[in-house]
Symmetry: C2
Subunit: 400 residues, 2 copies
């Protein structure tokens, strides 16, 4: 249907579609239909489409595009870096311009497509030396020079910086746009407001997925192709299967005890399940703290010590409840004690594992949310089960 | 230390602190120190501080504040609604103003504190009738009337709307600010850019917490007071203890079988653990889809049907692996078959539960992420355990 629309609308549609759908449609368009569409799109959006095409299609389209010079540099950056998120169409001013000249320049530059609320001031080498808000331009006397009302204090990022860092800067300094420079400090693009919210949302989506055992990729959504959905969730299920077999191996070491006191099997899943839950809690809180740049490795000692206290409090509260229920249900005080103490030990270990593992991953410059509950919960689970069955072995005569 | 700083800096510090710390400091300041601080703060921030004070302190401070008239209306709204997030200091224009008059007005209105990129046009009843971007104002001829270059197409929210809806509007329409009106359509405030990113981040934090078994409140972070931390995590642990005892009850019905074939206890936790994991995955994806306004109840049929296919695929893939390992480990093909089929059934049920429960909660106008894994995983866990132990009972002669 797309070729029937006029170029303007078709470009809007293509920008609006999500990446997979857009790529599929673009791949099926003939080059002579695709080129005017790409020219009409913002350079950063056009680059995203080109990156999803085959190298031959991409090269053929670029060869005919009027905006090829703006789009080509954007192809060099990974999708989830500052360079991949930026657009290269930036309104730039020079320090010697007057406010009137700057306004005049803007009138020719500003399209109705992407709106720029900050204007960047560059020197003759394109080095970023200042920033002017639209607001300052409104307020400036027409004859005032840009250098008189620009601010030399510009927050910028280098193009290969991860988008998570961009999101943190945007959030901390409440920015409307973030200029992107190369290693020499030369302005190469800007992440505009319309992309900023997307950056922040994509980062949150990735964390939510990683914490909940889905491959951390914000491309995935409820209606992603079934094959993609199955493939993105399978690795974590297999990882979980592996850790579950480790736990099963621990249990198998106590098979003769279970044969004598089958009721132990009834309580195994209680001890394991609670540790899972507590580890997930600690994990979610610390990973979110890192995403919002509130927590770093230097806080590790304090965070872990705090989690010891919390784990102990939860262990006592929940362990007592679990022990009492076990006691009154089975009429065996020793069984209650064993269940209670194992729960306490499990919750204590869970909090520490949930906090320490992501901190260590962060220190190793790995993605902290990788410590998805599958990996973190294995340790307390196995410790909890061993503690439970070990205690049961010790007090075996009192359990039957 | 705060009273030693000059008012400007102290107000900045107070705005920067998080809510708990800020409230504690404010509560300990004498009224005559607090009032100038609150007057210096943005009305929305001052209102947040006042809401955390005791009613007497709050009333005493309000009685002396110069900005009391701006702050008082903000006290009427819940923290997490549009009204609670907005500031009441809005630059407003009238349709008959010229661009030059509008710019002149702005020069007197705009402080260096909070920046407004949109100006709102109201009629004589304060009804919101239009919007002018700073950009349009820059581009307009000085003598042009506001009505000639304003846009009458304004996206606004009513003050008691939940902040999640605000976040979705901001994201969908790429807004820099969102005007807030009362039920009569009269402008009462604006959610400015500096609050928008916070709204989006807080919503993501709440979802991450709820999905990972922590009370959904973005106030909580790694270094929240220990008592608060323990209390916010305990309810989910108790809920988990309850569902774990339900599962334990199911297992207890098969105690005599386990006594005969203790190896069943070894595989119990594998079946249960995998269901947990699969349910969490489905849950995270659909809850995120709802948060980003991609999924609604009318998609329920399609989403659940898809999840049936995915659950079946995962069930076959992981069930086969689990069955094969069980078979070769214990040298019993029937045991492998029972483990495999129970895993398949569990993963199938897990995907459906993880998808259906949040959709139903949404349809009931409840918070979909409430379906935290504790509640959603109980069903497939119990089904999976019953299936596993039921099959084991049927094929008991082949298992020993």
């Amino acid at each position: 249907m797309l070729p029937e629309l006029d170029v303007d609308d078709a470009a809007d549609v293509l920008e609006f579609l999500d990446e997979d759908e857009g790529a599929e449609i673009a791949a099926n368009l003939p080059v002579e239909k695709l080129v005017p569409l790409l020219d009409e799109m913002e350079p950063d959006e056009a680059a995203d489409v080109l990156l999803d095409l085959s190298p031959e299609q991409s090269a053929a389209a670029l060869a005919h595009m009027g905006s090829a010079d703006q789009v080509r540099p954007l192809l060099a950056y990974e999708d989830d870096t500052a360079g991949g998120r930026m657009t290269s169409a930036v309104p730039v001013l020079r320090r010697w311009m007057t406010a009137a000249q700057a306004s005049e320049y803007l009138r020719t530059f500003l399209s109705d497509r992407e709106t720029h609320y900050y204007l960047y001031v560059i020197d003759r080498n394109r080095k970023l030396i200042g920033i002017v808000g639209l607001r300052e331009l409104v307020l400036a006397a027409p004859a005032a020079r840009v250098e008189a009302f620009m601010s030399a204090d510009v927050i910028s990022v280098v193009a290969d910086v991860d988008q998570e860092t961009c999101g943190q800067l945007i959030s901390r300094y409440e920015l409307l746009a973030l200029p992107v420079v190369d290693r020499m400090g030369r302005l190469v693009g800007v992440i505009t407001h319309d992309d900023l919210v997307g950056v922040i949302e994509d980062e949150a989506t990735e964390d939510i997925y990683a914490l909940n055992n889905v491959s951390a990729d914000s491309d995935l959504d409820v209606f992603s192709p079934l094959r993609m959905m199955v493939r993105r969730r399978l690795p974590c299920l297999y990882a979980n299967l592996f850790t579950a077999f480790l736990a099963a191996y621990v249990i198998s070491q106590f098979e003769d005890i279970i044969e004598q006191v089958a009721v132990l099997a009834v309580f195994l899943s209680i001890v394991a399940g609670l540790g899972d839950n507590a580890a997930t809690q600690a994990l979610a809180i610390i990973v979110r703290g890192m995403a919002l740049a509130q927590v770093e490795f230097r806080h590790a000692r304090r965070a872990i010590l705090r989690e010891c206290v919390i784990g102990l409090a939860h262990g006592v509260a929940v362990g007592t409840a679990a022990g009492l229920v076990a006691h009154f249900w089975r009429g065996n005080a020793v069984l209650g004690l064993v269940v209670g103490v194992a729960t306490l030990g499990n919750l204590f270990a869970a909090g520490i594992a949930g906090t320490a593992v992501p901190l260590v991953l962060k220190a190793l410059r790995l993605y902290p949310a990788l410590a998805s509950s599958v990996l973190v919960t294995a340790t307390p689970d196995i410790l909890g089960l061993a503690l439970f069955l070990g205690l049961a072995t010790t007090y075996l005569p009192y359990l039957t």
